[in-house]
């Protein structure tokens, strides 16, 4: 059954169907309507959860960490300044091994108030230990949230996960979405551990260098384990819903491609059309649409891109560096990679624009 939903509405439906029992949130454009809808679901009795209207994003994440440590499946949604304000607690959630799932409607950071799409908010939280998935359309938002809970909560992983999608471009644009019930794929949460008066322990106390090092290593290893279980979760999601949604990466016309565009988010969907435009002109171009930025599927990327010319599109501009994704791909491939920075601060990006820029690079580099 299809519903016509915006990205934010799809996120709210996903949280409800994932049997979230605790939501703590603070309003921020363009993520606000996710939690407005959840608040309504809870009010109407359609969703059995406690909603806490906290006084900041720092507190939203703190409350989510507390509730998760207490054994609840938790959810929050934020964007931009809100995500930046959470920064300390993002580190906390990862080290505390609390499988919080949060949606991020990607938006630029101030000053120069800008509420439009830009991935620098979530990408600048790259090193917090969170899993990060990027969506290309509204359907993927619903599907990714469901799979993110399974991965985050799996015994081998136990890490928080961010589901990111372009502000307004996806958060506020409506499209037909399949909203299947998720029973069997995601059931009532059974925590690996929880705070209980009957089982007293001290969590997060002073930790010697040896123990701390092993704690960080275990978080690092959990990323590797997450990579391994993602194909299994994709398969289980397919068996439950009849829909296969890739979570690591998606490829388009790369078999015979000489040049491959690498991108994330809504721009990557636009790049797909650009591939067709360029192919019509006789350019052998393909696309690798990265879905999982963390865990980073470095081995797969290497094997796919080893003999290709690569061009990375970034919807972020990190001063002094360029694009974050470009930096990551260059480091993984250990070779020169072209960089396109497009759509920063919500500037409109069309397939024609991508085709024109990639075409220009082809001319510069030669065929």
């Amino acid at each position: 059954m299809y519903k016509v939903l915006t990205g934010n509405e799809a996120a709210a439906y996903a949280a409800m169907n994932c049997k979230v029992r605790f939501v703590a949130a603070y309003p921020i454009t363009p993520a606000t309507s996710v939690v407005e809808m959840l608040s309504r679901f809870i009010d109407e009795g359609r969703m059995k959860a406690k909603f806490v209207h906290v006084e900041s994003e720092h507190s939203a994440m703190a409350a989510c960490i507390g509730a998760s440590a207490g054994g609840l499946r938790v959810f929050t949604a934020t964007s931009s300044q809100g995500l930046a304000y959470m920064h300390e607690m993002l580190h906390w959630a990862a080290n505390a091994r609390t499988p919080v799932v949060m949606t991020v409607a990607n938006r630029a950071l101030a000053p120069g108030w800008n509420i439009w799409a830009d991935q620098s908010d979530s990408l600048s939280q790259r090193d917090t230990g969170w899993l990060q998935f990027y969506c290309g359309n509204v359907q993927e938002i619903y599907d990714t949230i469901a799979m993110a809970y399974r991965i985050a909560e799996s015994k081998e992983v136990m890490l928080p996960a961010m589901v990111c999608y372009d502000g307004f471009v996806l958060s506020h644009v409506a499209s037909p979405v399949e909203v299947p019930p998720l029973n069997g794929f995601i059931d009532e949460y059974e925590p690996q551990w929880r705070i209980s008066i009957d089982n007293p322990f001290t969590h997060g106390n002073v930790c010697s260098p040896e123990y701390y090092f092993s704690l960080r290593k275990s978080v690092h290893k959990a990323h590797e384990k997450a990579l391994k279980i993602i194909p299994k979760i994709e398969q289980e999601f397919f068996e439950c819903t009849g829909r296969y949604t890739t979570l690591l990466y998606d490829t388009y016309k790369i078999e015979d491609a000489k040049r491959v565009i690498v991108a994330m988010g809504a721009i990557a969907m636009e790049a797909k059309i650009a591939v067709d435009i360029l192919r019509k002109r006789g350019e052998k171009v393909g696309l690798l649409r990265l879905r999982s930025f963390r865990p980073f599927p470095v081995k797969s990327l290497r094997s796919i891109l080893v003999d290709k010319e690569v061009c990375v599109i970034d919807r972020n501009l990190i001063p002094g560096v360029g694009g974050v994704l470009h930096q990551e791909i260059t480091a993984s491939l250990k070779k020169d990679v072209d960089s396109l920075i497009l759509g920063v601060g919500g500037a409109d990006v069309t397939a024609e624009m991508i085709a024109k820029n990639v075409g220009r690079l082809i001319l510069e580099v030669g065929r």
């Binding site: 703590a24 906290v54 006084e55 440590a69 969590h203």
Partner: protein, 295 residues
Amino acid sequence: MIEIEEYILPGNAACQGCPSTMCLRIVLKALKGKAVLVVPASCTSVYMGAYPNTAIKVPVFNCAFASAAATATGIKAALDFYNEDCEVVVWAGDGGTYDIGLQALSGAAERGENMIYICYNNEMYSNTGIQRSGATPYGAWTNTTVSGKREHRKDISEILLSHNIPYLATASAGYLRDLYKKVKRALKFEGFRYIEILAPCPPGWKFPMNKTVEIGKLAVESGMWILYEAINGRIRLTGISKLIAEGKKKMRDLRDYLKAQGRFANISEEDLAEIERYRNKRWKKLLDSNSKLVD
């Protein structure tokens, strides 16, 4: 009768004469160990001991400095979900309460979250090595107010009272039975309850470590710390403060309190007069705030 069972083990990493361990011991006894402690960055996060050991026999969740009341909000929701019969108690210092934790504290109080928030106020950042906080009194030396603080402390209890909370109390490490009774009283209420304990710190206030209780008493006897309860906003003085208000006990000379502490060693006569003015103003304000203050 004070509970016999111990919930905080001896031989922990606190300084000798530490008021925090002394008071936490009494608080946990009053709670009969039926509490989950939420502890933001503070001396408590250190003296509870290093992983994999702990000196505290109830569940403890360490949280980020600014986040205690918000973290406790989440934990309480989870404990309610699992029908766990216990209180969530925040155990925070004055830095984590007056300063960096104030936003989360105010948010939780305004929402009426069902928890007991206890601030053990040693009037400075002690765990980081004695720096000024919003609770440091006028004239006091700290490592960041080497010639004495030039501002009075803020009155956080007044801030909390404006949140219409059902129970608020002040206590002092000098009167542990009074603290015990106030925690017991807090248990009779639902919603957000706040208790603030004056916690004289030997290294920070510069007095011998066997004088913690004595200084805690002197603070109250000299009127620098006022013991009271506010039940549904109605203020009632307690203990020695009540006797002083009733005229049954004479307020002690402020100098007795200040001279017992090295942190006030260099204050001038003008400083002393300023501290006295502040003390008298606070007393007057409290007495004026409710005509039936003493019952």
